[in-house]
């Protein structure tokens, strides 16, 4: 690998043991995948549940991050501001919070911005088309690659952390234009794309991810006015049922002005047809009889936008979450602050809803209260993870945001199809 003088000095330990370890890991990793050089990244986003001792090792002697860096949501519902109200056991949270306090010192020393969210682009981590970046989390990775056209690989937690600390990344994989074309074509058929709901979009992502695996895809036939909120439900399931890192949408995403360009002037290796039948089949995976009572409603995977919090507040105004129900909503601190300014969070909290900076998909990775058996959500990614991780002990039902709020108020599933 060809290295600059600065990179060579870093690799020899002239910038301290942490940077030495990080850059040598990146060099070795890059060589396995034939990277010819390292490139400078403009932005990073790192994992919050990184082990403290490993973080200390990798940051030893470092006093600033190598690139603008933000932090992922709290895992295991350990957000210091909300765990207690969620009924999470103290025994579970105390060791995590103790580690967290020590990590905060490192975050502050390196200027890792403590955003605690999976939507870094909505809280100031703004990247451009063509930028080299490294964001932790399959969902932020997919969103930045696809919607913005910033270039990033599906970096694992340690490679990602090493990139954030050094500001350098191996030049390989999706950094190269020739690897960014779609191999799989998804044709959305017999559905009026103007009428698709966010749940329908989620169902498309859920269905397609299982077939596409880790290949790049292009979706044709969607409404060109698709909103950011709708893309937030379409894309993340692709990296839950599959491991898709890049999804072009014809006429919408920056690298897909037309189908031929998105496919890199080649015929697709496989075409997936999706219509009403596939969409309803995906939704039926997560349905429940109307008579059953829902114990918990989860919104915020990905973390809710201000528009969604506005809608939740509108639906909850002068209403109360049912006495046997819970409503948990994930969002960024910064979006929460805006919701407070607008008066939305006060309405939601007065109605009994709870807002957290935790990851809302990893819920069963910690001891949540035993009486929570049936969970409703508007996110296919949440539905997939909760049903997979809880191994059948908890059931998940899916519906639109409005259905979810109604069930939080009434306890029973009355809306939906």
């Amino acid at each position: 690998m060809i290295l600059t003088k600065e990179e060579e000095a870093m690799a020899r330990g002239q910038y301290g043991p942490g940077l030495e370890k990080c850059i040598n890991l990146l060099i070795k990793f890059g060589e396995v995948f034939n990277a010819e050089k390292l490139v400078k990244v403009s932005s990073a986003h790192v994992y919050s549940a990184f082990p403290l001792d490993l973080l200390m090792e990798l940051t030893e002697g470092a006093n600033q991050s190598g690139a603008f860096t933000t932090i992922h949501p709290f895992m295991s519902l350990s957000d210091p501001l909300s765990w207690e109200k969620m009924g999470i056991s103290k025994d579970h949270v105390t060791p995590l919070n103790r580690e967290h306090e020590k990590k905060v010192e490192i975050y502050n020393r390196l200027s890792f911005f403590r955003t605690y969210t999976c939507v870094p682009m909505l809280v100031g981590n703004f990247v451009k088309k063509g930028d080299f970046i490294s964001w932790f989390g399959s969902c932020p990775q997919l969103l930045a690659n696809s919607i913005i056209g910033a270039k990033q690989n599906r970096d694992g937690a340690v490679v990602n952390m090493a990139i954030a600390i050094t500001g350098k990344a191996p030049y390989w994989g999706l950094f190269l234009d020739e690897n960014r074309s779609a191999e799989i074509l998804v044709e959305v058929e017999d559905s009026d794309s103007e009428l698709l709901t966010t749940t329908d979009y989620g169902a498309i992502g859920h269905y397609v991810g299982g077939i596409a695996k880790d290949r790049n895809i292009v979706i044709n036939g969607l409404n060109r006015n698709i909103t950011l909120d709708e893309m937030h439900y379409l894309l993340p399931p692709l990296s839950a049922t599959g491991a898709v890192s890049l999804c072009h949408i014809v006429g919408v995403t920056p690298e897909a002005p037309d189908l031929i360009t998105a496919l890199g002037n080649k015929p697709p290796k496989e075409t997936i047809h999706i219509g009403k039948e596939e969409i309803s089949r995906a939704k039926e995976e997560y349905s429940t009889p109307e008579s059953e009572e829902i114990d918990l409603v989860i919104l915020g995977c990905p973390h809710c936008t201000i528009q969604e919090l506005k809608q939740v507040a509108f639906l909850l105004e002068n209403k109360k979450v049912g006495t046997n129900q819970r409503l948990w909503i994930g969002t960024a601190q910064q979006i929460y602050n805006l919701a407070q300014t607008m008066g939305y969070s006060q309405i939601i909290e007065k109605a009994g809803g709870l807002i957290s900076r935790s990851c809302m998909s990893a819920v069963p990775d910690c001891p949540i209260p035993d009486d929570i058996r049936i969970i409703a959500t508007n996110s296919f990614k949440t539905a997939h993870y909760i049903s997979t991780f809880s191994k059948g002990r908890r059931r998940v039902v899916i519906g639109d945001l409005e259905d979810c709020i109604n069930v939080a108020i009434n306890g029973k599933w009355e809306v939906g199809d």
Binding site: L25, K28, F29, V32, F33, Y47, A49, F50, P51, L54, F136, G137, S138, Q141, N153, R154, D155, G156, A157, V158, V159, N160, G173, A243, T388, K391
Partner: protein, 133 residues
């Protein structure tokens, strides 16, 4: 019997092999607290991976797989080496994080030549795996 391959992360170790025919995930198929394989319905479900040489076609895996392995390694519950048909980025990161030998691109298919229970020696420096008779 000998297999020749590419050494991705070097080191020399010897131990019993555990061979899986389908792709493997350190986040979904492995319990770092006891080092066991956790794939319900799989004939090797509950078998130890800890302190053995893991032979897999490839890994499928979440982006925090390396941290699961890091946790396991601290309790001596990690495998001693990983051999696979062809490496993927997550497995490379896993092996580098805990610094265990990782090899791929063998002259013979490791999944077909090595059997669970075989005693094998991984000679990373030489790019050789020896299966004891």
């Amino acid at each position: 019997m000998k297999l020749r391959g590419r050494t991705v992360n070097t080191g020399n170790v010897e131990a019993e092999a555990i061979v899986l025919e389908s792709s493997f995930s350190f986040t979904a198929d492995f319990d770092p607290d006891n080092g066991n394989l956790v794939i319900r319905g799989h004939p090797l479900h509950g078998e130890k991976i800890a302190q053995k040489i893991l032979v897999i076609p490839a890994a499928k895996g979440a982006v925090n797989a390396s941290l699961m392995l890091y946790k396991a390694k601290k309790m001596d519950n990690a495998p001693l080496a990983i051999l696979c048909r062809s490496v993927d980025p997550i497995t490379v990161e896993c092996a580098m994080t805990v610094d265990i030998p990782l090899m791929d691109s063998f002259d013979k298919d490791p999944i077909k030549t090595i059997k669970t229970g075989d005693y094998i020696r991984v000679l990373g420096e030489k790019g050789i795996v020896v299966v004891e008779d």
